[in-house]
Symmetry: D2
Subunit: 263 residues, 4 copies
Amino acid sequence: MAGFFYPRTASGQASLIPSPPWFYSGDLLTVEYRTDPARVAELLPEPLTLADEDPGAVALIWADWQSCSTSREELLDPVRSQYKEAFVVVRCAFEGRTYSRCVYIWVDKDFAIARGIHQGYPKKLGSIWQTRPHPFGPAPQLRPGARFGATLAAGDRRLAEAVLTLTAESPTNGFVNGHPMAHHRVLPGIGRGEGDAHAELIESGASAFEGGQAWRGDVELRLFEAPTEELARLEVHEIIGGYYRQVGVTWDGGRRLAELPSV
Amino acid sequence: MAGFFYPRTASGQASLIPSPPWFYSGDLLTVEYRTDPARVAELLPEPLTLADEDPGAVALIWADWQSCSTSREELLDPVRSQYKEAFVVVRCAFEGRTYSRCVYIWVDKDFAIARGIHQGYPKKLGSIWQTRPHPFGPAPQLRPGARFGATLAAGDRRLAEAVLTLTAESPTNGFVNGHPMAHHRVLPGIGRGEGDAHAELIESGASAFEGGQAWRGDVELRLFEAPTEELARLEVHEIIGGYYRQVGVTWDGGRRLAELPSV
Amino acid sequence: MAGFFYPRTASGQASLIPSPPWFYSGDLLTVEYRTDPARVAELLPEPLTLADEDPGAVALIWADWQSCSTSREELLDPVRSQYKEAFVVVRCAFEGRTYSRCVYIWVDKDFAIARGIHQGYPKKLGSIWQTRPHPFGPAPQLRPGARFGATLAAGDRRLAEAVLTLTAESPTNGFVNGHPMAHHRVLPGIGRGEGDAHAELIESGASAFEGGQAWRGDVELRLFEAPTEELARLEVHEIIGGYYRQVGVTWDGGRRLAELPSV
Amino acid sequence: MAGFFYPRTASGQASLIPSPPWFYSGDLLTVEYRTDPARVAELLPEPLTLADEDPGAVALIWADWQSCSTSREELLDPVRSQYKEAFVVVRCAFEGRTYSRCVYIWVDKDFAIARGIHQGYPKKLGSIWQTRPHPFGPAPQLRPGARFGATLAAGDRRLAEAVLTLTAESPTNGFVNGHPMAHHRVLPGIGRGEGDAHAELIESGASAFEGGQAWRGDVELRLFEAPTEELARLEVHEIIGGYYRQVGVTWDGGRRLAELPSV
């Protein structure tokens, strides 16, 4: 049987996602803020612990992607290439190292969900929008005073909205999402009331990266309650900053940090 | 950490799906036909083999669902309850028993994808439509001569379309999807070029079932090629029949048939 | 040139909608309540005035439709037949008669928007959901105690949600939407700052109707603010009642009540 | 009553579209080809006639837009600003002048449909995708050899797909869409079997324009049949060329060319 992901077939043609490496071109709009570290700790299963420094730091990141496999063919049938996402990253510690960790994420395509299952991102479907820079007309260009909006909704409810007003070039694109990711990959047992059939802690990150000038700016951010979401529980106590950067990324697998009995 | 599926949190509120049991009300439009058994065999990884009788039989089933957890709360916020799906079922044998097996399936909600990952259904997103029976106006009622259409698209391409014209009440709703399901649950290893980190064969089926009168009818069916699908490879050699039935189903877990090294 | 609506072509095949009559099968979930009559009066352009009796009565109606033209062919390609809508109806008076009038409406298909332009319904796109009755499983049947939810969103924001709990059979399905509709059909002039190029007041209603037993029930209703909507301005002062009914309707044109210079 | 378009209210806040001027930033991927001029003539109602030169020339244009009103507020809530479209333009003559004319168009937002009703574009909903240029990662940059894909679907069927491979800078972005637009604005009469209640021929075009370097390239184009579309009837006899250009546009009304009894 061939095919990286399901459905597996003789040829592998129908697989929801092809084998890595996966290649990405995209725009990142990042908002970093501080919440109560106890709310971050709630989202860190053993053996993870809070990061030593600034443990309540959170990044809420919007990304507008074009992605493809080695064949590049998805780029020419862009319904299979383009997707948008919004995700929440915190930091944590494991065996003395600091990791980033995605605790919530929404995307708008099935292939992105499948990649998330492989990479340990807890992806749901959502409706994600962010202003794009453009050289002509009313859309903003990357320069001081430019304003970018970003919104997230799921289940027909708005969950978050942000406005970023660029102020200056920045040496960084934020720090919360700057470490290797430490993610759980978990599959509940098929039997009634069983624990997990599979649970592991894995590490991964970009295998190649290029990016343009990062920008920082002033941020307005609002989070909203919803009956099946807990994003708003990560209350905004203090805005750290906002950032905008265009990037190219390659992802080509990770490594297992620990096998776990159940999470 | 609480939550049946990801994301796991302190309360479990954000979990994409709650714990089973899961309850379903829905309408099934089924088309059964025969294809080349070799094309079915291609989709049966070891240790599965072709069914002894009628090994080329295929069921293409459209379903229009309302589903919920024990709380029933999803029914009152129906964006979280209602979804549609189209799926392809074949039969196979394992250790002397005959099983049904879903080889392709498309749904239109993320919670349905997540349930599929748990149950071993290889779910992708699609656009699925089927005529609904209705007591008034131009829509069909369940009686001879009533006509129901059903279509499936994914990636902005139509993949299948069927028209079912009811002819008579039927003692069955078809036979291909009538056995317990034998499904693989597979997670590729996170490392580059690794085999599967998790692979098992599981069995599951409805823990409770009720249904109305089944109807049979005449069928027109067309399958279409697409670059990322292999549905049309299950060529229609002979129509067996078409069926329509309204059902109520409960699903409450299954059991592991075999742990596998990799698939 | 042939074609009822645009685009007009030699054959008319591409017309977004075919000529009336149009036929509908559907389920109506109606919530009636009283608001400040001044808020209703704001939505009645000359020559319309408030209805004499109960002028603050409002109906918020969810409808789940299958619709078709005389050919019935849309029913067999249901992406062209099925749509959902939520709409707000008030009453008004014109030349001594009482009319119903749709002041806000959201649908989820383009053919429904086009019909609205013809009929004078001010249709926008929205995401509309309502619980469906079903004979099996967890979904409600039409009997006392059955509960139906209904929600409306547009622009990624939830605008309204209701829960209807059936209490008893009802001789009516409400009264606010029970009159012929008095609608404006307006097209702004193409020149900068011009008034309307076309403005008329028209009357229309069902040319044929059949329906099942109506039910009444208890209602919870919530309306939400949004930057491009004014639904929440029709504040809920007092719930009149909730209703559920399955219907079949034919629409086959109306008549002009008045030509207007501009509105 | 205030509000440029429906619904009209006391404040105008709920209007589906605000008053012009409207501002656009976007990317245009244009394919020009020749079809049988008789097929173009079929789409030109009186008093329009075929253009004198190259009367079978057709432009199929994909556009990826961010748009807004004078307030610019839509740019910061981009679900209200961003949309995609694909449209077919031919040329025609009226009173000795050559005009461009949009004969088919698909968009993915309701505000774009409403603008089309005002401007005379025969807009339907569709699913439209085109590769975006990006400075990093696998997406193309604007330079020789860069490849852009573009697809169009409606009603769950793919209608068109193109691949453009840039070859060189170009002094033009094509010629078919280069004239003022001559569009009909038509509203069928509300009475059964009536002719049009309103029919006029209008002219409009950009009131301001800026653009980057245009590129030309090699094109592959495929059109597909669908039961409610006639795009494929404009058969591709000869490819003229393909073009890519980023632009900023302002639209601020037009003028009436002729009032017509019915079309």
